[in-house]
Every structure is written in C-alpha cells, then in structure tokens.
Amino acid sequence: MIKVQGLTKRYARNVAVDHISFEVQKGQIVGFLGPNGAGKTTTMRMLTCFMPPTEGTAEVAGYDVINDPMEVKRRIGYLPETPPVYPDMEVVEYLDFVGRIKGMPKEGLSKRINEVMEKCAVTDVRNKQIGKLSKGYRQRVGLAQAILHNPDVLILDEPTSGLDPHQIIETRDLIKGLAGEHTIILSTHILPEVEQTCEHVVIIARGKLVATDTVEHLTSRLRGAETVALEIMPRDTNADLNAFAPSVQQRLEQVAGVSRVIHKDSKDGRVHFTIESLKDRHIRPELARAVVESGWQLHELHGMGLSLEEIFLELTASKDTTAAEPVPVAAATASEEAPQ
C-alpha cells in the first residue's frame, strides 16, 4: 500500500530524513517511532504531498507522490500534530467543508458525516464551535476529518499527544477499530502506544531508519534472556546492609540459570538487585526459593522483560553513542504508565 524508497529531505543546514526505505501492506497498522526531532513529521509530510522529497520516491496506493499528487491526496487521510480545525466553525459545518474539498459527492455527504461523528464520538458536540471544545474533542474532530472520505491510507501524526489518560485509551481503541478498512501509519514517541496499537514498527532516529519489523519479532530478537528485579531485607532489621549485600549477591550468583547479579542500591533497610538470566531460562522460582531458604525477607520479585523502550534505546544508542534524546522518551513513558 505504501512503498518508500530512499526517501530523503535535505534542508540548507541539515538532513531531516536520510534515505529511509520501508513498505506497508494493506490493512496494517504501523507505528512510526522515534524521539522528538527524528524526522517523523517530515516523513509524513512527504507521504501526504505536503512537501516534496529532495531525493527518493514514495508510492501510496500505487501512485507516486511527486508525479501523481492529486491521486495520492484523494487516497490519504491526514491528521497533523495539531488538528487542522477552524475554531470559528461548528463541528458539522467543518466536516461538511472538509468533505467538499476532499471531493466527496454532495449526495450522502451528510449521512457520512453523521456516521463519522458517531464513530469518533463527537455527535454530542455537533453544533458547537470547535474553538470552544476541549483538546480531546478537537483531536477527535481532527480524526473524523481524516477518515471522512474513507481513505485507503490514514496518516496520523502523534494522535494521542496532549490528551488525558482516559482520552488516550479511547483514541487508541478508535484507531485499532479503524485497522483493516484502512492502512494506518501513526507516529509517536510513546513506546507503549506502539506495543498496544501497532503490529509493525518503523523506528527512526536522527533521520535514519534504525529498524523495521513486527513488534513481536523485534522484542524476541533482542530478548532471549530474562531480567528480574529483586528487593529483599535481612531477617535482622538492624543488620549492616553494606555487609549484607555482598553475601546476598554471592548466594544469588549460585542460583542455576543466573548469568549476572547487579547490586542496585541499599536503602531503608532493603537491598535491590537486578538479575539477568541465561538465555531461555526462567529463574524466578529458583530465586524465590534461594531467598526464602537463606532466611531473608522477600519484598519484591518481578520480571522486567525487555520492553520496546529498551529495544528502542539500545537500537538508537548503538547507532550513535550520544543517544538520540533518550530523556524525553523515558519521561513520556513514565507519565504514560499510570493509565495502563
């Protein structure tokens, strides 16, 4: 459905997108992942014919973005980062305007508008001025605009940014519901979003393609081993933790299947460890037994897995030691974790 080859956007001083190639099959949801400023928006703008590429080609539904922009535009629904709404217009009026400039026939337009409003849950504000709506509603009106003419391809630029946790979940469900009928590319810098909504993921950093694969493949490719977080207390709460920790570490290293034990810190009378297993070994039951048999108090034991986030950091960092802004990614994920 979408075929991108060697797509490049060069500005006077920098290269925003550098020879990116990937393909998207019909009906897939693809997550376009990368830190802020990685070139996600620029790539999307090239796909929607907002700006032409400096080099390379992109095909949408068989039409080239440079040679057949009109055909491409007819088949694309686009939601930019800020929903392109006119604050003075009422919701219905706005959708009517969008329908007309998308070249939809007048007959059936109002029926389709009602359908789309229902789908995006904006029917209750149909006669309100968009400028007076909350950010969540405005975003959904933006989404309604994108799907109105029933395009083959939907391109959504950070569709959940600026929404509250409840709205984020609603929007994700809405997007998931649209898959199948539409081929969807959605960009985000929020990793759990990709894990939850997308089947495929395209990771870019600093304008370069870092990885493109299914979410499952990508996780298993880098996983293999299990990582476990452990928190324990000595039986005697007044014991010296500095002496306690090394003895624990020694004991844990003897557990079968453990490859590495890292002492994180000791505070409030507790010691924290991160333990990595050998490939394909489940060490949690063994660890629990070891702790209990030694007479220590087990406070917490949980598998950390290898989330997309770690994969992401690993991939982006291995390409470039300075790592492409990992901080905002981590911060964004932290705030994201609450609603899940």
Partner: protein, 254 residues
C-alpha cells in the same frame, strides 16, 4: 466548484468573527460622512449661486459622484489590509494550511477562492455606498452609466490591492506583520503619484503609472480607459501569481 467552497468558507469566517462587521460598519460611517459632505457642498453652492442671481449649470456627476468616489478609493486603501491580512497567515499559524494543501484541490483554487472571498466583502463595502448614491436619483439626474464605471474602477482597484495583500499574507505566519506590510505597500502605491505634483520628468511619469490611485481618475470621471483597465487586471494577476509561487515555496521550505 472548489473555488466556491473556499470562498464560502472565507466569507463564513469573516462574518463569524467581528472583522466583517467592523470593516463594514466603520466604512459605512466614513462613506456616509463623505457623501453628506459633498452633497452639502453641492447644495450650498447651488443656493449661493441662486442668491447671486447667477444661473450657471451645476453638474451633480462632477461635484458629488466623482468627489465621493475619489475619496472612497483612498479610504479603501486603509481597509484592504484588514481584509487580507489573515487570509493565509492565519492558516499557516494554526496549521490548517496542512489540511488545504493535502486535500485534492489545486493551489490555484485555494488562492482564487480566498481572493474571491475578500472581493465579496470589499464589494459589500462598496455596495453600501451605492445605497446612498441611489438617493441622488430622487433629487436629480446623475448619469448612472458614469456612476457604474466609477464603481467598476473601485472594484478593480480593490481587486488588485487585495491580490497584493493576499500575496503578502502568504509570506508570513503573523497576521499583524502581514497587515502592516500590506498597509505600507498600499500607501506607497498611493503616494507614488505625488511625485507628479512637483515634476513632469520621466521618473514622475513612470511612478504615476505604477501608482494605483492614479489609474482611478479616469474611472471616477466615468471614463472607461483601456490603459487603466489593463493596469488593474495585470496587477491583480501578478499578485495572485506571486501568491501561487509563495504557496508553493511553503512546501519547499516548511
């Protein structure tokens, strides 16, 4: 078709916001003042002439219609920037330009639609003056054809300045900047003709030809001069052409 959709949307925006009402209201006030002034002068002069027993013919076309039209063409210059300043600047600031440009419509349709919307508002302004002019027919016999030519001149002049304003608006994200720049250019195009008051050199002739208001003279006299018609039409086309280039460059630079 798409052009009309865009045009309708622009008019909708003008009338949803206070812009249209302010522009129309204040223009109507000023136009009414000028109309009253010229009619008053005309009547007064007629009375003076009658009292002195002089019975020379007085021309309503020359004394009222032409005077009012010439003044309106200048007042219009102050209002045009307010009509055009938001056309593209606002779309660029709020990001709605992305919707327009990624929709299957041609740039030309977007530009023409916007310009047409501005034209309709401008024509409505001028239409208000036409209402006052109609009262003249109750008391005299003004030449309606000359009057129409005068209005045509106002529309043509407005069209060309609106095209220039549209172009300037497409160059910036900031409405105020667009407004001030348009105002500056419009005023400059007016005062260029001042040169001819001091000098009859070739420079003055060239400047006078470039000046928008200089071309209004023949129209306000009720004369349809091809030279002036060509000037206005070509300036309009130039303005819209530059807008098209500028809109295209958003894509290359953005």
């Amino acid at each position: 078709m798409n052009t009309l959709t865009i045009c309708r949307k622009e008019l909708n925006t003008y009338f949803r916001s206070p812009i249209a009402y302010f522009v129309l209201g204040i223009f109507a006030l000023l136009a009414g003042y000028f109309f009253y002034l010229f009619v008053y002068a005309f009547v007064r002069q007629g009375m003076v002439a009658a009292m002195q027993g002089q019975n020379f013919p007085m021309n309503m076309d020359e004394m009222v219609v032409r005077g009012v039209l010439q003044n309106l063409s200048v007042i219009g210059l102050f209002f045009l920037p307010m009509i055009t300043m938001r056309l593209f600047a606002e779309e660029k600031r709020s990001g709605t330009i992305e919707l327009l440009v990624t929709s299957p419509i041609r740039d030309a349709e977007i530009i023409l639609g916007k310009w047409l919307g501005a034209m309709v508002l401008y024509a409505a302004m001028m239409g208000l003056v036409l209402i006052s002019f109609l009262t003249l027919f109750a008391y005299g016999k003004p030449d309606w054809r000359a009057m129409m030519v005068g209005f045509l001149g106002l529309l043509l002049q407005g069209g060309c300045l609106l095209a220039i304003g549209t172009f300037i608006s497409s160059c910036t994200k900031n409405q105020i900047v667009a407004g001030i720049a348009t105002f500056g250019v419009t005023l400059l195009l007016w005062v260029l003709s001042y040169w001819s008051d001091f000098d009859a050199s070739i420079t003055s002739k060239v400047l006078n030809y470039i000046s928008v208001t200089a071309h209004m003279d023949s129209f306000s006299k009720g004369v349809l001069d091809l030279k002036d018609l060509i000037y206005y039409v070509s300036m309009t086309v130039l303005g819209l052409f530059l807008t098209a280039r500028s809109l295209e460059s958003i894509r290359w630079r953005a």
